[in-house]
């Protein structure tokens, strides 16, 4: 029996060790995971502009470009984020760092209601660093919890395109090209869910801290684009209006984005598309509001 129990403990030890090894690999070879870890350790950063959102903002907003224009920018977006997670990340950022002057929230109605989903969902990477929970880590060990990151690491190992991608100022930059061969649907429904409670908490938080907040719909693939005007106000409650800048407008997107060269995946811009998107974003939205 002793021998058996000893072997069980060794087996358990192996499971723990492979999980720790996996975490080590993630911290060194999974740029997205490493970014969330680094963000959780940010202290006294003095960025002027913070970009928030999910993978569409992570890929599509070029923080380097805006920084080069003189506005020190960091892209705090994380793939798979819900707006509630964005709120959590930004609250944490404000707690430990200097207040930015401006926040750009990259909305992603192009990929459906995921980001502003009325039903809250968690981002395991953010939870792992921002709300460490021993029981959760036992129930959901890192290898199980971050399965897709293992696949990403294998992709990095096997594909040059993935190896050459970089994380710069929080933006995921890849030259990978997957053409967008989808077609625009003129009957595409207008975005909704702007009355999301967490989005409003985020707006209030910015107001309270005197931070200018810009809500921007990031461009999606042709099939996801809409005909909503570039600037539109929405009445979200009796006495509250919000302004949304729509880069997902079909006409704007057609002039801005080359469907054959600017996409890395459906609804996700590559570095070429992101630079064009950010140039427009900077000139038409950030700069006019920032200088005010």
């Amino acid at each position: 029996m002793k021998k058996f129990l000893k072997k069980c403990l060794v087996f358990l030890g192996i499971v723990v060790i492979v999980n720790l090894l996996f975490l080590f690999l993630l911290l060194n070879f999974a740029p997205g995971f490493k970014k969330v870890y680094e963000m959780s350790k940010f202290q006294n950063k003095d960025f002027d502009l913070i970009v928030l959102g999910n993978s569409m903002a992570l890929d599509g907003v070029d923080a380097n470009y805006i920084s080069e224009k003189g506005i020190k920018t960091y892209n705090l977006a994380v793939a798979g984020n819900h707006v509630s997670t964005t709120l959590k990340l930004f609250e944490n950022y404000l707690e430990h760092n200097k207040k930015p002057k401006m926040v750009v929230v990259g909305l992603s109605s192009a990929v459906g209601k995921s980001y502003l989903n009325p039903v809250l969902y968690h981002n395991p990477e953010v939870d792992f660093f921002y709300q460490p929970n021993f029981w959760q880590n036992i129930k959901n060990p890192p290898m199980l919890n971050f399965q897709w990151l293992a696949i990403d690491m294998i992709k990095i190992l096997l594909s040059k395109e993935h190896r050459n991608a970089t994380m710069e100022n929080g933006q995921w930059r890849t030259k990978k090209v997957i053409p967008d061969n989808s077609s625009f649907n003129p009957n595409r429904a207008a975005p909704k869910y702007y009355d999301n409670v967490y989005l409003h908490k985020l707006i209030k938080l910015c107001k309270k801290n005197n931070i200018k907040i810009l809500l921007v719909e990031i461009t999606g693939s042709k099939k996801s684009q809409n005909s909503v005007p570039f600037v539109k106000e929405y009445l979200v409650s009796k006495d509250e209006k919000i302004t949304v800048y729509n880069l997902n407008n079909f006409k704007i997107a057609s002039e801005l984005i080359n469907p054959q060269t600017d996409w890395l995946a459906p609804d996700h811009l590559n570095v070429f598309g992101a630079t064009k998107e950010t140039q427009f974003l900077y000139e038409k939205i950030i700069q006019p509001n920032y200088t005010k």
């Binding site: 029996m1 021998k3 058996f4 072997k7 069980c8 060794v10 087996f11 192996i14 499971v15 492979v18 999980n19 036992i138 129930k139 060990p141 290898m143 199980l144 399965q147 293992a150 696949i151 294998i154 992709k155």
Partner: protein, 486 residues
């Protein structure tokens, strides 16, 4: 409580420690513990159905005693029929009531009589098909005087509700399990280590193979109208591996867990997809159910002793009943019927026992002939599984119609809808399973090593580690076991 859940990962070691360290002094205490934890295990789903389980257990225990004490054949027959009737009554009520009422209502509607039937709005008590069959086999064996009635209620209750087999088998026989329950058990290191290996292999098959294949199979079967023939065939292939990984994985975990307590359960799977004909397939697939039907239905009906007509009738009877046992849907009956059609020619040509021994013993690869036999048998089972998986007979035929059309030779449209990289990984995992099981086809399960096959501790532990990594990294989304619904 699912075998592939964290709750079970905590439950099993606790029971193991209590069993060997706290309740180890007396067999009666160990059995009482097994009974209590089995009821806790069952109550985890729905405690209300515990009463049904307890009632069924008590009924068969009591009927067994009455049959034995009966002074006349009529009295013992009365108790046999009472027990079988009540057991099948419960099973029929919970599992088949809605089916029969709906079918009757449809028939009446078709002749112009509109009825609004009252339908049951409760879930099927998990494991009812399995524990009912445990009880039936016991009662019939007592009646046939193959065994004596069990006097100790706790020991009998453990036989019925022993947690590793309670919800999805294997369907045990009193002649096999009861003597083990009654015997003092001592800890056997080799048996326990083998049990852990079997659990690990079962988890791999369930979590890595079945749960991933389920994703593709569901995507294709749930939208079958929008897929071409080649995609539908791929969907059927994925389901073929899903159901194997799911049920044989479950059985491996059940058998492995039981070995930790010194109890050997009946083997349920013996590499069925390496079968050379359908008869061999049915000797290797869900063995405990096939042999149950053989012993308690096929033989009493006369087996294959009579003429050709009797052989054909009895074969159809067991396949149709076996199909219907799986669920209240015509698709299961069609699945059974199709398997009977596959089986009958072998039976009539007296070739149904051609392949008894393990395939290609002492050879690394099968011969060309064997390869084609395996492939053909596999193809037949894939086609049969379409009926098992389809929502209705119409659905199954619509799939077959597209599958056997020109579009079978088209590039599968389904591939573009999934991440190719994930797809490749999942196909690789299926190949890993096939290779490991082929290499161990003469063993009880895929990961059963002995000093002869793998004498290096380092190599063995490396394999365990790789399997753990595969389970954690490539495991699919947690799904219920398919056979829980039966």
């Amino acid at each position: 409580m699912l075998f592939n859940s964290i709750e079970f990962a905590i439950f099993l070691p606790i029971v193991f420690i209590l069993y060997w360290f706290v309740f180890n002094k007396k067999l009666s205490k160990q059995n009482l513990l097994l009974l209590l934890v089995s009821y806790v295990f069952y109550a985890w789903w729905d405690w209300r159905f515990l009463f049904l389980l307890a009632f069924s257990t008590f009924l068969d225990y009591f009927s067994g005693l009455k049959i034995e004490q009966a002074t006349s054949n009529a009295k013992s027959k009365f108790w046999l029929i009472t027990s079988i009737g009540i057991n099948l009554g419960f099973l029929g009520f919970f599992k088949y009531y809605n089916f029969f009422v709906t079918e009757l209502s449809n028939s009446l509607t078709s002749i112009g009589l509109s009825v609004n039937p009252w339908l049951l709005k409760i879930v099927l008590p998990v494991g009812i098909s399995f524990y009912t069959f445990h009880g039936l086999s016991y009662i019939i064996d007592v009646y046939k005087k193959r065994i004596v009635a069990e006097k100790n209620f706790v020991e009998y209750a453990v036989f019925v509700s022993y947690f590793p087999l309670l919800v999805a088998g294997p369907i045990e026989r009193a002649t096999h399990l009861l003597p083990q329950v009654k015997k003092v058990r001592t800890f056997n290191y080799d048996q326990a280590v083998d049990g852990l290996r079997q659990i690990l292999w079962g988890l791999f098959k369930k979590i890595v193979i079945a749960d991933n294949c389920a994703m593709y199979a569901n995507a294709i079967f749930n939208n079958s109208a929008s897929h071409d023939g080649s995609s539908l065939f791929i969907g059927a292939l994925f389901f073929t591996f899903q159901i194997y990984g799911d049920f044989s994985g479950y059985s491996d975990i059940a058998l492995g867990a039981s070995r930790l307590f010194g109890i050997e359960l009946l083997r349920n799977f013996a590499y069925p997809y390496f079968s050379r004909d359908i008869a061999e397939f049915w000797r290797r697939w869900h063995i405990s159910l096939s042999t149950w039907f053989r012993d308690y239905l096929y033989f009493p009906l006369g087996g294959s002793k009579g003429g050709t007509w009797m052989k054909v009738r009895n074969t159809f009877a067991i396949f149709l009943v076996s199909g219907f046992w799986h669920g209240a849907n015509w698709t299961f009956i069609a699945w059974g019927f199709l398997n009977a059609l596959y089986f009958i020619p072998l039976l009539l040509l007296n070739r149904n026992r051609n392949h008894i021994e393990v395939i290609s013993t002492n050879a690394l690869f099968p011969s060309v002939k064997e390869f084609f036999q395996i492939s053909f048998t596999f193809f037949l089972t894939v086609i049969a599984w379409i009926f098992f998986r389809a929502d209705s007979i119409t659905h199954a035929f619509s799939i077959l119609k597209v599958l056997f059309s020109k579009s079978f030779f088209q590039k599968p449209d389904f591939i573009g809808a999934h991440d190719t990289f994930y797809l490749l990984i999942h196909i690789t995992m299926i190949i890993v399973m096939i290779v490991i099981e082929w290499l161990h086809r003469d063993k009880q399960f895929g990961l059963q090593f002995n000093q002869k096959t793998l004498n290096s501790t380092f190599k063995r532990w490396s394999i365990y580690t790789i399997i753990v990594v595969f389970i954690l990294l490539f495991g699919g989304k947690q799904n219920n076991f398919i056979y829980f619904q039966f």
